[in-house]
Amino acid sequence: MSTDGPSQGANSAPSGGSAAAKPQAWGDHASNDGPPRGANSAPAGGSAAAKPQARGNDASAGPMPTPRSYLDDGFSLWSWFSSVDHKRIAILYAVSITLFFFTGGVAATLIRLELITPAGDFVSAETYNKLFTMHGVIMVWFFLIPSIPSTFGNFLVPLMIGARDLAFPKLNLLSWYLYIAGGLFTVGALIAGGVDTGWTFYTPFSTMFSNTHVIAAVTGVFVVGFSSILTGLNFIVTIHKMRAPGMTWFRLPLFIWAMYATSIIFVLATPVLAITLFLLAIERFAGVGVFDPALGGDPLLFQHLFWFYSHPAVYVMILPAMGVASEIITCYARKDIFAYRSMAFAVLAIAIIGFLVWGHHMFVSGQSIYAGMVFSILTFLVAIPSAIKVFNWTATLYKGSIHFDAPMLYLLGFVGLFTIGGMTGLFLASLALDVHLHDTYFVIAHFHYIMVGGSVMAFLGAVHFWWPKITGRMYSDRWARFAAIIVFVGFNLTFFPQFLLGYLGMPRRYHEYPPEFQVLNVLSSAGASVLAVGYLLPLFYLFWSLKYGPRAGSNPWRATGLEWQTPSPPPVENFAAIPVVTAPPYQYSAMEIAPQPPRSRSAPAPRERGEGPGEGIPGKDAV
């Protein structure tokens, strides 16, 4: 079955194959002559000797000393809250952002309930204002911005580049505590009575007129900003300085490129938000300041400063999703990513140009028409690297052998929805058209296609793709695919009508609307309930899998990438020995050409195999 390595035996599953290949690479580490990483990942090759060592279903029961998984490194709550292990911090983040996601979701549910009827009969106008503010603040700062970077970024950056941890593990833990502290401030403000400014905190309403808890909410956002900064700083340093031997820049997985670009935005944009909110809070507190025209200030200054952060922040939300897409699509198309370098440069281009487009939020604010023209042109420019990415994903699919597993379904949905979101962004980038569409539901639909259709779909895809790696367990693929389809249908039903509503002129942020908009609003609310089901479903089957799911093995998807070459869940130190990288990422085409074990459907083996065989083949055993 394999030509370039010892046979693994007939019972070996694809996942076991690549795990078994690992000791070989590590054994060769000292001689600096490891086999190509692609070859390692291929099912061929590997030490059959490790196979009989596979223990029962208890990872700690083996006779040989096995690397302790990060999940087994202490079981008390304190062992989690004091852990500086990037994998544990990722889990802390995952749990917290999930809580915030559903908190923000409750607000969205109430919004959609109100909008079923044209009359404002379910909540008052003030409550409605507080609801959409709560929804926006929580979803933007406490879910979307930290979502993929703080969970998957934290978990995967060291694993993907072959490092033991991030460069500054204590800062990493601090960033989680800052996140929680910021969250408490904000939730406190929301519980104490809410904020009605919208997530944008526009002055002078936020400084002079709003009678709600603006300062507390702003403080929360200020604090959580430093959590982002620390995460970004950690990633930049880690990616620069801690790559495994042979892991050159152009051998980095595209997810790492995406994390790098995201981190640049974290580090350079967030401080501007921090100082802006600081000025806002003082101005509200003391009645002196630079944003209120009555005080000789300039409200446009606030908008410029705010969007200088908040537009790049949109790319914080979408770039990680693009990184996830690049990992998953190439894996399930069983084909190398198309035009790797252009993908890497496109991410950087989006991050850099993204810093120069903030004024497109202010086309109708009264800013100079020439500024508007420049911002419009720059905004159109962002479409180029974005289109490069979409075309390259499509080209990756072309003639690939595509497997429609749950992660792939999510990510195929991502590509389509991101394309719609991106294209409608061009409508809004056009100066004349934006006058009509500004502050309508068209804008709402546009950015939800990017943030929910794009980021959240990719986040869920990432959850399903890396779940076996993170937990060591397989979930029910049937349920997962069902949920993916439900989310896709529910999403489109929720947000596509909003494009039409916006085009017809329904403004955002009102709790009442003319009766002729009711049909589309009811469609949207109906879609939201479908979407809610789609979001709740994974909670059930994923938690089920934690206890009852079959063992995943180190590489259930036969994916390339260093994270798949270490056991699932990974040991505390990530790798028994730091791997040596000798080839670019994504060796799928070579894998497909090489002889391989029979495979009935898309990577079904681990699920059908049940517990045991592929699980945690210890690297040390063979060394």
Partner: protein, 213 residues
């Protein structure tokens, strides 16, 4: 003499650890630049609204004390640079002296700054607490002083952090914690001190020298 450098578990060797720490500090300094950058933007926008008010208000600042303070801070930066050099060369006693000088000059800067604040208060130039200014540009002058206190106040907070850092470094130096092979904390502390210094180099002309020609 050369003690083994303690390498944290995530690093391969001392060199990787040092380079990572260096880069981390530079990235942090970049965030600081953007943090103050937002303030400078606010300054520019507000000044463009009422340039005359800024000219009037700037003449009300205490340029003598401000200039002395600039000298004090630049000297402290020189001391810091010498401390880093001395540490690299392994002369701990000299390094200790230079670090103490840096901290003392930093404290002197804060003392002079505080004196200035008191004098400003007596001149009714402190927005929120006690501000009055005759003439048509009162609003603009108040905004200038709002920014003046915000910017110098934020700078002073950074100075306080810097003095604490330098003091800790001095204690560590006295305990012979640094060798020519291991001086990362001193180097990073130095970088931070210089950044705080550079921020002042921009604040000084923007606040004190608007219309003094």
């Amino acid at each position: 003499m050369t003690q083994a450098v303690i390498v944290a578990r995530q690093f391969d060797d001392a060199e990787q650890q040092r380079k990572a720490s260096d880069l981390g500090m530079w990235v942090f300094l970049a965030t600081e630049v953007l943090f103050f950058g937002g303030l400078f933007t606010a300054y520019i926008a507000t000044r463009l609204h009422d340039p005359q008010a800024f000219a009037i208000a700037s003449r009300l600042t205490n340029v003598t004390l401000g200039s002395i303070n600039t000298g004090v801070l630049l000297t402290s930066s020189l001391m810091m640079a010498l401390a880093v050099r001395a540490t690299k060369l392994g002369s701990g006693r000299a390094a200790l002296g230079f670090l103490c000088a840096t901290a003392v000059l930093g404290v002197a800067f804060l003392g002079i700054k505080f004196t200035e604040y008191v004098l400003d208060y007596h001149d009714h130039l402190v927005p929120i607490l006690d501000f009055s200014h005759p003439g048509p540009h009162a609003g603009g002058v108040e905004n200038f002083f709002y920014l003046y206190f915000f910017m110098t106040g934020l700078h002073s907070i950074h100075m306080i952090v810097g003095i604490v850092v330098v003091t800790v470094l001095a204690v560590m130096t006295a305990r012979r914690r640094f060798t020519p092979d291991y001086f990362t904390p001193v180097e990073l502390g130095g970088l931070y001190w210089h950044l705080v210094d550079i921020v002042w180099i921009f604040l000084y002309p923007l606040l004190y020298l608007v219309s003094r020609t």
